[in-house]
Symmetry: C2
């Protein structure tokens, strides 16, 4: 019986055959690894704005699998002069980080044959907003530090889980983007 | 007629009196600037996970203004072994960045007396996923670079808008967190 005729191997909800086939394909054709992600944002007044996410380029083509876009509202709490129109942008950064570390962790576990039963995480990010408010040039605007605590339910030994958590950090795109400097170019066009 | 009896000054949807009062309060009591933002995340299988955002600490107390939480689903497209359960985490990072730069821009303009009519932005982030897939140690996992282009409709001269866009970058918490390294500590607990 050939591999193709067997049931796909699913571990942690990840199709492990597809995962390894993807790794092989990108290894053989490195240019398939080039991705470009996109977002557009529109200001709705005050602290309220909305991003739309749909299109991306990757694996040699524009994605065709997304038939609808997602929209997300950001805002600020009253203490930061908003009306809780949505989470504030710094909170969305924590979501991006949590989501990326979790997916990295789940994929690494799947590839290594480790079954996970539950994965939860809590994130705390400390920030002195005197920086962002322009009240001190000595206080950075960014998070001073972020703490991530995972709670993992799995039959795997703790040492094995520790290796997977470490590998997830090594491979997470958002973790790497937050812990290292990413060049961001900002330009504007004045429209009539 | 005292200031308190006048209508609040609203510019760009921002209560400018509250903005300046907030700046004065934090200037007088720097400890009010200490914030802690939080998120929790729960894995739902494969590339699918969900963050919940509600509580934060700031201005000397736990926030009491949010009566409900927000939830956001993250996923991956099929080419990255998911089922489009939501945008992927790296796309959420672009949303956080767009939202933060926009709010910074709007607040700076409000404080400087510049009326904005429309603000839109498009973001593109380049990433070689060979890093995140663990196929190359020479390719970073993070975004190689991100480009943000604002379209601003305003009667203000372009030079004035350029100053505001520059100041928004200098003061945006997420821009600063992405363009500079933020320490992130990751720990885990194995639960039964």
């Amino acid at each position: 019986m050939t591999q193709a005729m067997q049931e796909p191997r699913i571990r942690n909800g990840v199709n492990v055959d597809t995962l390894f086939a993807t790794l092989d394909a990108v290894k053989a054709q490195p240019e398939l690894g080039r991705f470009q992600f996109r977002a557009t944002n529109r200001w709705l007044g005050g602290a309220h704005n909305r991003s739309t996410i749909k299109e991306f380029y990757g694996a040699g083509q524009m994605d065709q699998t997304r038939t609808a876009s997602w929209q997300f509202d950001a805002g600020e709490p009253p203490v930061l002069i908003g009306h809780n129109e949505g989470p504030n942008p710094a909170e969305f950064l924590l979501h991006a980080l949590a989501a990326c570390l979790t997916t990295s962790l789940v994929y690494v576990a799947a590839a290594r044959g480790v079954q996970l039963d539950e994965v939860e995480s809590t994130l705390e990010g400390d920030m002195d907003v005197r920086g962002a408010l322009g009240l001190s040039d000595e206080v950075p605007n960014r998070y001073e530090n972020i703490r991530v605590t995972f709670r993992i339910k799995s039959d795997a030994p703790a040492e094995k889980l520790a290796q997977i958590v470490a590998r997830a950090q090594q491979r997470s795109a958002v973790f790497d983007s937050v812990t290292n400097p990413v060049p961001v170019a900002v330009d504007f066009i004045k429209v009539a």
